[in-house]
């Protein structure tokens, strides 16, 4: 495990090599949170109620903050692997004595953590000013557990799309589709509680709800039944996607063609 920790560590150091860039790129969340606040403030005012589908305006904003942090801070692995195949640098990654997927996991985590931390910090400060203080401290560890599961699901999806580069020329369209699914069916733009019942059922039977809605919802209202449901869902989908990932890797390796001879 030492080697994977070292890979995580060097990615972390690399991400922090340009602190100004890290901060500047994370500033984007301020714009998103401000737009969300304007939209939801009007929505709540128009409804004439302080609570909509069990969520207050403050809950909604902190929910959206966590979802945005995950979306903007998740590893961009699909793009990374696809680039490594295109420019041939994959050759160096495949001929080292480690598991390629665990390498990508450690590397993605090292790259993702500082970004997520900075996004949460900046976005959180603005959300606090606009919508009120963050959820109770007791909510945090519950959300964190679900956040780990959600991050791993994102990793599996991204790695699967990235591995498609072993056989396909371009993976950007697949990444686009995956992203839009997490936006809509994952509850990133609108919490799933605001959907009609049938769409909620559809969403919750797909993996995307466990990648966004789960940790974000638990962050604002850590209901034990919901926690159990989210963790179980994450476990099931991680088993399915993890299995698929291992299969895709062993198959993909046979079909890999590296550019540049």
């Amino acid at each position: 495990m030492k080697k994977y920790f070292a890979v995580f560590n060097i990615n972390l150091v690399n991400s922090l090599a340009y602190p100004a860039e890290l901060v500047t790129r994370s500033l984007m969340i301020l714009l998103f949170m401000w737009i969300f606040y304007q939209l939801w403030r009007v929505t709540f005012a128009a409804s004439g109620s302080d609570v909509l589908n069990g969520l207050t305006l403050r809950d909604t904003m902190w929910y959206l903050l966590l979802a945005e942090t995950l979306e903007l801070g998740r590893p961009r692995l699909a793009r990374v692997i696809s680039q490594q195949v295109k420019d041939g640098s994959i050759a160096y990654l495949l001929n080292k004595p480690y598991d390629f997927l665990l390498y990508q996991l450690s590397s993605g985590l090292g790259e993702s953590l500082p970004r997520m931390g900075m996004l949460f910090l900046l976005g959180g400060a603005l959300t606090w000013v606009m919508a009120g203080p963050p959820p109770d401290l007791v909510n945090w560890p519950v959300a964190l557990v679900a956040l780990v599961g959600a991050w791993l699901l994102h990793f599996c999806f991204n790695a699967l799309i990235g591995l498609a580069a072993f056989v396909s020329e371009e993976v950007a369209p697949y990444e686009w589709i995956y992203q839009k699914f997490t936006f809509v069916l994952g509850g990133m733009l609108i919490p799933l509680d605001f959907y009609p019942a049938w769409l909620q059922t559809v969403s919750k039977s797909l993996p995307f709800a466990y990648m966004m809605y789960g940790p974000a919802r638990l962050f604002v209202q850590p209901d034990p039944a919901l926690f159990a449901q989210i963790i179980l869902g994450q476990f099931v989908w991680l088993s399915v996607l993890g299995g698929l990932l291992l299969l895709a890797y062993s198959r993909g390796l046979r079909r890999l063609a590296i550019n540049g001879g």
Binding site: V7, G88, S89, A91, Y92, N95, P97, D99, I258, G261
Partner: protein
């Protein structure tokens, strides 16, 4: 046991083919056309432990593909290969502990970080303890003269400096075999010499076998004892470098520049004048070093006027390969 044993190795790639224009793009969506490229065709050779073997050929000859199969990154389409007793594509991770690789056109060092960070990471990846890693880094830093470069971010190094760090990184875990794919590509003469010297010294000291691909005949002369020339995925020649030199690398190209104009009919005995520059200050000649000694040509050139510049070089490898083909055809 040979370090490398390759029998009838082949690799084909299937690539999409599309004519220019929108119409062809649309047609290709409905009915894509593919063509098969045979990058390696029935390659067989052996390499002994500690041997310095040059694997040369022009661009697209199949050198890099062969190296990638031998490191286990690519699966072959046919044939067999064993590297240090391992079947590379089946035992890639076990093999990785015993081989070092450098792909000259691709960086393995972390671009924004100092090389020492990548070397330390590699120490962990190859499961060396921290003390071993430190000691080894010090040894390599001395051999490759990179002591002062290790703490500079890689992006700030020159290509020559970076390549020395790259090769040093590939030797960190004391591999038994070093696979170098175009290690001198893009380097200037001094940097090439520097890197060749360091590789030769380390290989001799640690008895590391070196399989080197290049399309630079200089790499071959400086580093290798034996050479395999491949073209279109097949071996067209294999012998000792000394034999190759005797047979093919005998002609030399000389480019000179004089302080004053020379005659349009400039001639030096024992050489062939290829070109006299329009403004008549520069001349390009060729001669056979077996027939006319280099010293004699230099003396004659110097006697012909005041020399401003002089370059002496081997013919391009493509010419050598053409000569090898010619010889094979004549034999038939």
């Amino acid at each position: 046991m040979p370090a490398i044993e390759v029998t009838s190795l082949s690799k084909t790639f299937r690539t999409k083919r599309k004519a220019a224009g929108l119409g062809a793009s649309l047609r290709s969506l409905v009915r894509p056309e593919f063509r098969t490229i045979e990058a390696v065709r029935g390659l067989s050779f052996e390499m002994e432990p500690g041997e310095l073997l040059g694997f040369i050929g022009p661009n697209g000859a199949g050198k890099s593909t062969t190296i990638k199969i031998l490191t286990g990154i690519l699966f072959p389409s046919g044939g067999e290969a064993k590297v240090l007793g391992y079947v590379p594509w089946k035992q890639r991770r076990q093999l990785a502990y015993h081989i070092g690789t450098v792909f000259g056109q691709r960086p393995q060092l972390w671009y924004h970080l100092p090389a020492i960070d990548t070397l330390t990471l590699f120490g962990k990846i190859y499961e060396l303890d921290d003390r071993q890693t430190k000691r080894r880094i010090a040894e390599l830093a001395e051999a490759f003269e990179i002591e002062d470069l290790l703490e500079t971010p890689v992006r700030k190094l020159s290509l020559g400096q970076r390549m020395r760090c790259e090769v040093a990184a590939s030797l960190l875990h004391k591999p038994k075999l070093l696979l170098l794919d175009e290690p001198s590509i893009g380097l200037d003469v001094v940097a090439k010499q520097h890197i060749r010297d360091a590789i030769r010294t380390m290989a001799a000291q640690e008895n590391v076998g070196v399989l080197l691909t290049s399309h630079d005949a200089g790499d071959l002369e400086a580093l290798c004892k034996r050479v395999i020339i491949i073209n279109h995925g097949q071996i067209v020649y294999q012998d000792k470098v000394s034999a190759l030199k005797r047979s093919f690398l005998t002609s030399k190209l000389v480019e000179v520049r004089y302080a004053q104009q020379v005659g349009a009919d400039f001639r030096i005995a024992g050489t062939e004048t290829l070109k006299v520059a329009k403004e008549r200050y520069g001349v390009k000649l060729r001669f056979d070093a077996r027939i006319t000694p280099v010293g004699k040509v230099m003396a004659a050139l110097s006697a012909a006027g005041t020399l401003v510049d002089i370059t002496i070089s081997d013919p391009p490898l493509e010419e050598v390969i053409a000569a090898i083909y010619q010889k094979a055809e004549n034999r038939e």
